[in-house]
């Protein structure tokens, strides 16, 4: 399986902001936070085409989401908007500061073989039924 190592950044987007004001279960919100942005060359190297899904993994978790190209990203970087999908990947460790590291962690990205983007209901259900790591 072809995969690349990236530095993962999370952050806000305007679409995410507009979406969450509609509601966290709105189409607009879901679409705005279930796509990871990749450098277009990186995306090509993974054989990604429009409509394919990607799997993003860190040592803390993994999630399957959509992808989009962003020329502003350098190679080896990925941007994943804040939200319940991105949070599957982050550690709760704060190094005593209270703040998890939401920016600049190592992640692996690969084309998702099958699988689908979990719905927000599924994510909530998995948290409710879940065990801590």
């Amino acid at each position: 399986m072809n995969s690349i190592e990236v530095t993962l950044i999370s952050g806000r987007t305007a679409r995410q902001g507009m979406g969450l004001e509609e509601g966290k279960f709105s189409e607009r919100y879901t679409q705005s936070v279930t796509a990871v942005s990749l450098n277009p060359e990186d995306a090509s190297s993974l054989g990604l085409v429009k409509g394919r899904l990607v799997k993003v993994s860190t040592e803390h978790g993994c999630v399957t989401v959509n992808w989009g190209g962003d020329g502003g990203l350098g190679r080896g970087m990925a941007f994943f908007p804040y939200g319940p999908w991105a949070n599957q990947l982050y550690s709760s460790s704060t190094d005593g500061t209270g703040m998890p590291q939401f920016k600049g962690i190592r992640a692996t990205v690969s084309a998702a073989d099958g699988g689908k983007v979990p719905t927000i209901q599924e994510i909530v259900d998995s948290m409710r039924g879940g065990k801590t790591r």
């Binding site: 952050g11 902001g17 004001e21 509609e22 502003g72 949070n87 709760s92 920016k103 801590t132």
Partner: protein, 427 residues
């Protein structure tokens, strides 16, 4: 009915020049608002929690409050969290609730600009209100901040476009520099974009400070930036008439956290020996500054405050919510004006799901879905009045433009009901 000079309750810009038209108790038009703000006003009535819920079933407000009081008073280690998207009266009540329960109160700054506060507690901060920037700044630096996606009118209203008393040319009288790990929309509109290696802002800030001090550094590049460019930036900062660094979560959430801010503060302080320079954190939510401000004047501390010994104690890392939740140290949570289930790393959110949660919210969120008690509340700034503090600490009064949905009350009122119930329970 047309309301003018309406204060927008979305982000730390707290724009107060909105025009909102209301007909038959509904908002029909919003002018001067950014896209996110428009979405908030026009959609405030959409997807609302219609009635209080207990265990997923419809309940009356009284029984929901009773259930909330019951589960909170039985808890050994309750947490009160959120508060950045509501007004100050509600925040004060939340503090009193935490004190009454002997629990912990924390707000969203612990995952946002908490590190900025930690740095302030170490080395300070040289800041100015946004009008000072508008009137005087000829060098504007955005560091680890992307206003084109998060503070949409910042550049238009404060930091880029407007004519100022000493910047009569407006945009042409200013140089905008963006420092970030990737070129964002903000980077594209800047006069100069500087790409910094992820996790290396600290080194670059320190190197700049050394250059400002006239030190020669034996390096060819710092943080991926060629040394010549580092020196050039340092000189540009020294030669500015009035410089400002707006910094965001790129600094607070990267490796180094508060030490990144510490370095930024130190650089700006050093620059004050040469010229006028200030820095301002780009606060995210419209009243996270208010959450810090109210909590500080009432308890002495800005967030992560524990009352279990009867007096307030402060210790980020120990009493901050992500830590508390991930370590399983809390057994009940009251969430106000926030969605931690969405915003916290999965371990912390999963542990939140394990305990009884009371949430005061407008719309369905992952947090309300895992709550034992969910109570709909009015949207401050649209359906309820109160105070909010702008990112630079300027307090403005939020207006009530329309009535909340039937049976829905402001946060402060519902919290007051819970507080009274908790005090009764103690007797």
């Amino acid at each position: 009915m047309r309301y003018e000079d309406v204060v927008c309750p979305f982000c730390g810009c707290l724009c107060d020049d909105l025009e909102v038209s209301v007909e038959d108790g509904h908002i029909t038009e919003v002018k001067n608002a950014c896209g996110i703000s428009r979405s908030k006003f026009m959609n405030h009535g959409a997807n609302r929690l219609e009635h209080p819920m207990v265990d997923g079933k419809k309940a009356s407000l009284d029984s929901a409050v009773k259930e909330a009081v019951d589960l909170l008073s039985k808890a050994e280690r309750p947490l009160v969290y959120g508060l950045s998207s509501t007004e100050c009266g509600a925040i004060g009540k939340a503090v009193e609730i935490a004190e009454t329960m002997g629990g912990i109160i924390d707000n969203t700054s612990s995952v946002c600009h908490g590190p900025t506060i930690l740095a302030l507690q170490q080395v300070g901060e040289s800041k100015a209100s946004l009008g000072e920037i508008r009137n005087r700044a000829d060098l504007v630096i955005f560091w680890g901040s992307n206003p084109t996606e998060a503070h949409l009118r910042h550049i238009t209203r404060y930091s880029g476009m407007p004519k100022g008393m000493y910047v009569p040319e407006g945009r042409k009288g200013r140089k905008i520099i963006v420092v970030d790990v990737r070129e964002t929309g903000s980077g594209k509109l800047a006069d100069r974009f500087i790409k910094v290696r992820p996790g290396s802002d600290f080194e670059l800030l320190q190197a700049l400070r050394a250059c400002v001090r006239g030190r020669e550094l034996p390096a060819e590049e710092v943080a991926g930036v060629p040394m010549a460019e580092v020196k050039e930036l340092a000189d540009q900062m020294k030669e500015a008439r009035f410089g400002i660094v707006f910094f965001g979560l790129g600094l607070t959430q990267s490796e180094g956290r508060h030490m990144n801010i510490d370095a930024a503060v130190g650089l700006v302080a050093e620059l004050n020996r040469h010229t006028k320079f200030v820095l301002t954190p780009m606060r995210g939510h419209y009243n996270v500054a208010g959450a810090n401000t109210v909590t500080t004047w009432q308890t002495g501390y800005p967030y992560a405050v524990d009352f279990s010994r009867g007096y307030p104690r402060y210790n980020p890392g120990e009493f901050t919510s992500v830590d508390l939740l991930s370590r399983g140290e809390v057994d009940a949570t009251l969430v106000v004006a926030s969605d931690p289930a969405s915003n916290f790393p999965v371990d912390a959110a999963t542990n939140l799901a394990k305990m009884p949660v009371v949430t005061l919210e407008q719309k369905t969120t992952p947090t309300t879905m895992m709550s034992k008690v969910a109570i709909p509340v009015a949207t401050a700034g649209v359906e309820a009045e109160g105070t909010a503090y702008r990112m630079d600490g300027v307090p403005l009064r939020l207006k009530k433009l329309v009535e909340p949905p039937k049976g829905v009350h402001p946060d402060e009122e519902v919290l007051d009901m819970i507080l009274k119930g908790l005090k009764e329970a103690k007797r």
